[in-house]
Each structure stands twice: as structure tokens, then as C-alpha cells.
């Protein structure tokens, strides 16, 4: 066997080992969550790597309202908040990204830098002023108190993803449309938006996932009626006082995570394509 073949083989083995290690590192917590969710309460801390004493009682407990847990309502709240945040962020972000990527104006770079700076601002520093503001105007515990701050977190991601995609779009089509009599707004709506649909779709998925997973702001600004799943799971109560119902929490976590996993698996190619837009020539 030649040296080149041996080196190629060794490289392939190293690549596979690295891939397996990364996969195990990332998926093991999720796998453990699913396994624990199927375990009987008495065997919560059993260390067997596969499900033992399998039961569906944890899922029944997670979805039940008997102990004061409202996972169903929380799922609906998360859906309302996620969809609202995504739609508004896309509406504003697409137009902003078009202006930032296709037009030259004074201070454009500064605007881009300010958006980046705003996205890196620590969210915990905003908690107290937001709490005070929403208490003053009577929005505490309302949907808008959760949606508006989350838009501010999601918007920079939306703008940056779409700017990098729209920059690569050819001007020829737009110019041809303008020559044919389209206004810039019509060219944007009728030519560019349909072409940018994959990127917009990808950005929507990323924005939705970001909003779905948000906990910090939601934990302080939501009420029992408007709390999303992240807050609902964290405040799960068991059958006894001061009891932490780990198996029910794992079941709730699985219920909440599975839709996102399915969403990402279905659209993984579009997500990767949207994230790497502009990275490869042509």
C-alpha cells in the first residue's frame, strides 16, 4: 500500500473520529433528555444509557394541568410570540437589508456597525429598564411586552443574514425591470423578493428558533397567561411541595424540542445555504 493511500486513509479516519466526537458531544444531552423522559419517576437518576422502566406517565404529567402546569397554553404563547416576532422582523429586516446592501448613502457603514453593536449589547442590562417601562405603561405580562424586546434581538440577525445574501444578487435583472418601467419599489417587490425567497425563508427559520428559545426577557416580563414554554418548563411543579419533577421536565423539554428538530431537519439545506450565502463565488 503506498504512502499516499495510507495518508489518505489516516485523514479519513481522523475526520470520521472528529465527526463522531462532535456529534456525541452535541447530541448526548438531547438523547439523555429523551431517555429520562421515558423513565419511571423512581428511576430518574438511573445511569443506564438506554430507556429502562419505560412509561408514558411523564408525558401525561407534563401535559396535564392538574398540578398547575400549563404546557399547552405555553406552547400556544410561544407560537404566537415566535410567529409575530418573525413576521415583524422579516418585514423590517428585509427592507433594511435591501437598503444597506443595494444603496450607497452617507453613514451606511456606521449604521451597519451600530446594528452589530446593538446585537452584542447584553440582554440582562435591559431587564430592569424594560421592567420599569412596561410596568409604567401597563404592559407587564402582555404579549407586546415579550414581542417588542425579542424583535430587537432578532432584527440584527435578520438584517445581517439578508444583507450578505442580497449583496450577491445580480443587478442585471433589477436594471432590466427598471428599464421596462418598474419603479425601484416594484423591482424590489416583483423581482428581488421572489429571488431572495430562499434566504428570507432561512432567516425566518433562524428568527423563529431564536424567539422560541428566548428565556431571559420572558422570565421577567411574562405573566402566567402569557409565559412561553421556556418559562413554563422552568417553573414546573411536581406532586409534592419543593419537589423538582425531573422526568416531567424532560418530557416537556422533548415535546418542546421535537418540533424545532423536525423543522431544522426538513429545511437544513436551506438553512446552510442561507448562512453561507456570499461565501462562495457564483
Amino acid at each position: 500500500m503506498s504512502k499516499a493511500t495510507n495518508r489518505r486513509r489516516a485523514r479519513t479516519v481522523r475526520t470520521w473520529i472528529s465527526a463522531v466526537v462532535i456529534m456525541v458531544w452535541c447530541l448526548l444531552p438531547f438523547y439523555w433528555m429523551v431517555v429520562t423522559s421515558f423513565r419511571d419517576v423512581g428511576y430518574t437518576f438511573d445511569t443506564t444509557p438506554w430507556p429502562t422502566h419505560v412509561t408514558l406517565d411523564n408525558y401525561a404529567t407534563a401535559l396535564s394541568t392538574h398540578w398547575g402546569n400549563h404546557l399547552g397554553q405555553a406552547l400556544l404563547n410561544s407560537l404566537i410570540i415566535g410567529v409575530s416576532v418573525t413576521l415583524i422582523a422579516l418585514l423590517v429586516g428585509t427592507v433594511a437589508a435591501y437598503a444597506l446592501s443595494r444603496y450607497d448613502f452617507a453613514g451606511k457603514g456606521i449604521v451597519m456597525g451600530a446594528i452589530m453593536g446593538a446585537s452584542m449589547f447584553p440582554g440582562v442590562a435591559l431587564l430592569t429598564p424594560l421592567f420599569q417601562l412596561f410596568t409604567t405603561i401597563g404592559w407587564m405580562g402582555s404579549y407586546q411586552a415579550l414581542i417588542i424586546p425579542e424583535i430587537s434581538f432578532v432584527l440584527p440577525l435578520t438584517v445581517y443574514t439578508l444583507v450578505s445574501f442580497l449583496r450577491e444578487m445580480p443587478w442585471d435583472l433589477e436594471e432590466a425591470a427598471r428599464i421596462d418601467g418598474c419603479t425601484p419599489a416594484q423591482a424590489f417587490r416583483k423581482i428581488l423578493l421572489p429571488l431572495a425567497a430562499p434566504a428570507i425563508f432561512t432567516t425566518a427559520i433562524l428568527a423563529f428558533i431564536s424567539s422560541w428559545n428566548e428565556y431571559l426577557i420572558s422570565s421577567q416580563l411574562s405573566s402566567d397567561a402569557t409565559q412561553p414554554v421556556t418559562v413554563a418548563i422552568a417553573s414546573f411543579t411536581g406532586t409534592l411541595p419543593h419537589q423538582e419533577p425531573y422526568t416531567a421536565v424532560m418530557a416537556a423539554g422533548t415535546i418542546v424540542t421535537v418540533p424545532l428538530v423536525i423543522l431544522v431537519l426538513l429545511f437544513q439545506r436551506r438553512i446552510v445555504a442561507g448562512l453561507t450565502a456570499g461565501g462562495v463565488k457564483g
Binding site: R102, D104, K108, I110, V111, G113, A114, G117, W171, G279
Partner: protein, 90 residues
């Protein structure tokens, strides 16, 4: 493939630090007016303003070098219509 121009990167840096400079400036003024401990915030503001000044001076120098025939650093932003026209008419 889209490539960043040097001045574009500087512009974004100015915007990035400018945002935090504005935030720290507001905090410093509020702390000073309300009688709180403003020294730390003022020192942070001074550091940020120094960074901003350095970036702005560097930007001016790069543009001046380009005007004297140096490396092109300030052509129109990639993706814009001006850049498209510049490449089309080249």
C-alpha cells in the same frame, strides 16, 4: 465573490464603537447628574472616545493615501448600484 473594502470595515468599526460610546455617554451623564459613582463610567467613556478618534483618523489617512494614488480603499460598497455601474463601465 463579495470582498470587504478597508474603509467599509472601518466604517463598521466606527459604528460598533460609536453605539457603545453613546450608551456609556448617557450612563455617565445620568450617574453624574444623580450623584452616583461616575468616575469608572467616565474613564470607560474616555477609552471609547480614544478608540473612536483613532479609527476616524485612520479612516481619514487611508482616504488621503488613496487620493494621492495609493491603494484603492474607498470604492463603492460591493453590491450597490454604483459598484455595479463601475464594474460594467470598466
Amino acid at each position: 465573490m463579495f470582498t470587504w473594502k478597508a474603509v467599509e470595515v472601518l466604517d463598521m468599526g466606527i459604528g460598533f464603537f460609536g453605539f457603545f460610546t453613546a450608551a456609556v455617554f448617557v450612563v455617565t451623564v445620568v450617574m453624574e447628574v444623580t450623584g452616583g459613582q461616575a468616575l469608572g463610567w467616565a474613564l470607560a467613556l474616555l477609552a471609547l472616545v480614544t478608540v473612536m478618534a483613532a479609527l476616524i483618523l485612520l479612516r481619514r489617512r487611508m482616504l488621503a493615501d488613496e487620493a494621492r494614488g495609493g491603494a484603492p480603499v474607498s470604492t463603492a460598497w460591493g453590491g450597490s448600484h454604483r459598484e455595479y455601474e463601475r464594474r460594467r463601465d470598466r
